[in-house]
């Protein structure tokens, strides 16, 4: 098999276009040569200072700084695994992941005097190192990353991605979007998730220029960056578009002439937003993906060329095969509804500490999403088996909120669902149904309690009394019956 790791591709750009700018972060600018030298120096330093070696795991706080990027690729060069995590992660969840993965190094987190913790600042002191002529690059079947997702039971699940998975995924995306080394991408997405992290890999392996921006929160700064660096593309989640509209109207369209592509994903987007974007960016490739951490960007749809199919999630990405299966794993006919199953080199090899049988039909990964495929290959998503709630691009399990309500008062029975945000901003918000109970007079106390126990986006925006929670005979909550 002709396999080339992400790291080898970056190294190649360092040789063929050493002076090309790879990375910009505020006043720091790195060429491809400097990028690879820094990755190499970081690798040597990790080996020397922390005795990192093949097979080890490293927790990486997803802070959008250049040292995150150097460290990410350096850890891969060692043959170790990267576990990128949101810096705002709850302590409880962090503890759980530390216990599950037993990392040798924890970068970018403070964790109760844990000797394995180290701050990014210290990496600024690393001296440069000479890059040798011969490098042992990662092999295709080695685990590269473990990405933790919100499991349906509220327990984080570790998705194992090999070097082949992440390299295939970057290739598929670049080939669909049509990226090349002339691209200058503004990265304002969070990098603890598959979407933002994927953008880093896509741009740096195609030889383009990546401009880091903390977030889109400061629109003025974002527009300044668009102008200053002549940005040609960027990625956003549907909630970002609503934020951009609320905060700056149609100002983004001033850049429509220079924007070659916009990648969208991670949640569904209202039809009116899709039409508006198509209208404001007539010459931009607006590519919306559907995917999961387990199978990143498995389908794509482009707003102009697929204008008649905006209600679909598009077609299978290049080198990806999609099959609709029934509950026993038999393939459904065209147009028939079933579970969307995905096969491709980008698909995870499985979960940490879990047996794969439940997640695969042969080589096809079971997404848990329901849909059908038409005779042209367009896929329509009609529902989900799983019940993850997506608040402005941040995902949570209803179980997590319900267990905190139970912690507040064990006599309370509740069920949470995602509802359309009444303010039209977050996409979805959490709604909690609570069984009427004399012990609770109003929702204020529970709301105050949840505010201290959960990240704010997880706190229900709407509460409602209910007489009885609908359940199946086996006792499972029937959330689809709640509105």
């Amino acid at each position: 098999m002709d396999f080339e790791s992400l790291e080898e591709k970056i190294w190649s750009w360092g040789i063929s276009t050493p002076e090309k700018i790879a990375l910009i972060n505020k006043n720091e600018i790195y060429t491809y040569k400097a990028l690879f030298e820094n990755i190499w120096a970081t690798k040597i330093w990790f080996e020397k200072e922390f005795a990192l070696e093949k097979g080890d795991s490293v927790l990486l706080g997803a802070n959008k700084n250049v040292h995150f990027i150097f460290s990410y690729f350096a850890i891969h060069l060692i043959g170790a695994k990267v576990i990128p995590l949101d810096e705002q992660i709850q302590t409880e969840r962090l503890d759980l992941i530390i216990n599950k993965t037993n990392p040798k190094l924890i970068l970018g987190f403070k964790h109760d005097g844990d000797f394995r913790c180290c701050d990014y600042d210290i990496l600024s002191t690393i001296k440069t190192a000479v890059v040798p002529n011969q490098i042992d690059f990662p092999k295709f079947n080695q685990v590269a990353d473990i990405l933790f997702t919100t499991g349906t039971t509220g327990n984080p699940k570790g998705v194992l991605l090999t070097h082949e998975n992440i390299a295939s995924s970057a290739n598929n995306i670049n080939s669909y979007i049509g990226n090349d080394s002339n691209d200058v991408e503004l990265l304002a997405l969070p990098i603890s998730h598959s979407f933002g992290l994927g953008r880093i890999k896509c741009v740096l392996t195609i030889g383009g220029t990546l401009v880091l921006l903390g977030s889109i929160v400061n629109m003025k700064r974002m527009f300044r960056a668009f102008e200053e660096y002549k940005v040609t593309g960027f990625g956003m989640v549907p909630a970002s578009w609503q934020y951009i509209q609320k905060m700056s109207g149609n100002r983004l369209a001033d850049f429509s002439g220079q924007l070659k592509y916009i990648e969208l994903g991670s949640a569904s987007m209202p039809m009116e937003d899709k039409l508006r974007l198509s209208q404001l960016f007539p010459d931009t490739r607006i590519c919306m993906h559907y995917g999961l951490t387990e199978a990143s960007r498995s389908t794509f749809m482009e707003f102009h060329s697929d204008a008649m199919f905006l209600d679909t999630i598009g077609k299978a990405s290049p080198d990806v095969d999609i099959s609709i299966r029934d509950s026993l794993g038999y393939e459904m006919s065209i147009g028939e509804e079933g579970e969307i199953c995905i096969k491709g080199n980008h698909v995870t090899i499985g979960y940490l500490d879990a047996i794969n049988n439940d997640f695969f039909f042969e080589d096809y990964f079971r997404t848990g999403d329901i849909g059908n495929i038409d005779n042209q290959g367009y896929i329509r998503l009609s529902g989900r088996y799983n019940e993850i709630i997506n608040v402005g691009g941040k995902k949570l399990s209803p179980f997590e909120v319900e267990s905190k309500i139970h912690e507040f008062d064990p006599r309370l029975e509740s069920a949470c669902i995602g509802i359309k945000d009444p303010n039209g901003v977050m996409g979805e918000v959490v709604k909690a149904f609570i069984v009427r109970n004399n012990s609770l007079k109003s929702f204020d106390d529970i709301n105050n309690f949840l505010n201290t126990k959960l990240e704010s986006y997880k706190v229900p925006a709407v509460y409602e009394w209910i007489d009885k929670i609908p359940k199946t005979n086996s006792g499972k909550i029937q959330r689809q019956k709640l509105k």
């Binding site: 810096e87 977030s215 700064r221 905060m247 100002r251 977050m426 986006y457």
Partner: protein, 77 residues
């Protein structure tokens, strides 16, 4: 309470920090919770609590606490 202090209180509450940590130079993104969701919560709280409407063209210029105080004062006077 002065408008400035009220604005600072609203911001502090929205991004879950102590009001003493908020001054006029505190800017978007200075605290982890002052992300896009935080900014939306701040703008909608300001609009609600002062019963005002801030247009997108103006919102874009609100880069720090001082800008927000100014925008509110202009609209309530």
């Amino acid at each position: 309470m002065s408008t400035a202090n009220k604005v600072k209180e609203i911001i502090a509450e929205a991004i879950e920090v102590e009001v003493s940590k908020i001054n006029e130079d505190t800017a978007i993104g200075d605290f982890p919770k002052w992300d896009s969701m935080g900014q939306l919560v701040i703008i909608s709280s300001l609009e609600k609590q002062f019963d005002i409407k801030i247009d997108p063209e103006v919102i874009m210029d609100l880069e720090d606490v001082g800008d927000m105080i100014e925008a509110v004062e202009e609209r309530i006077s």
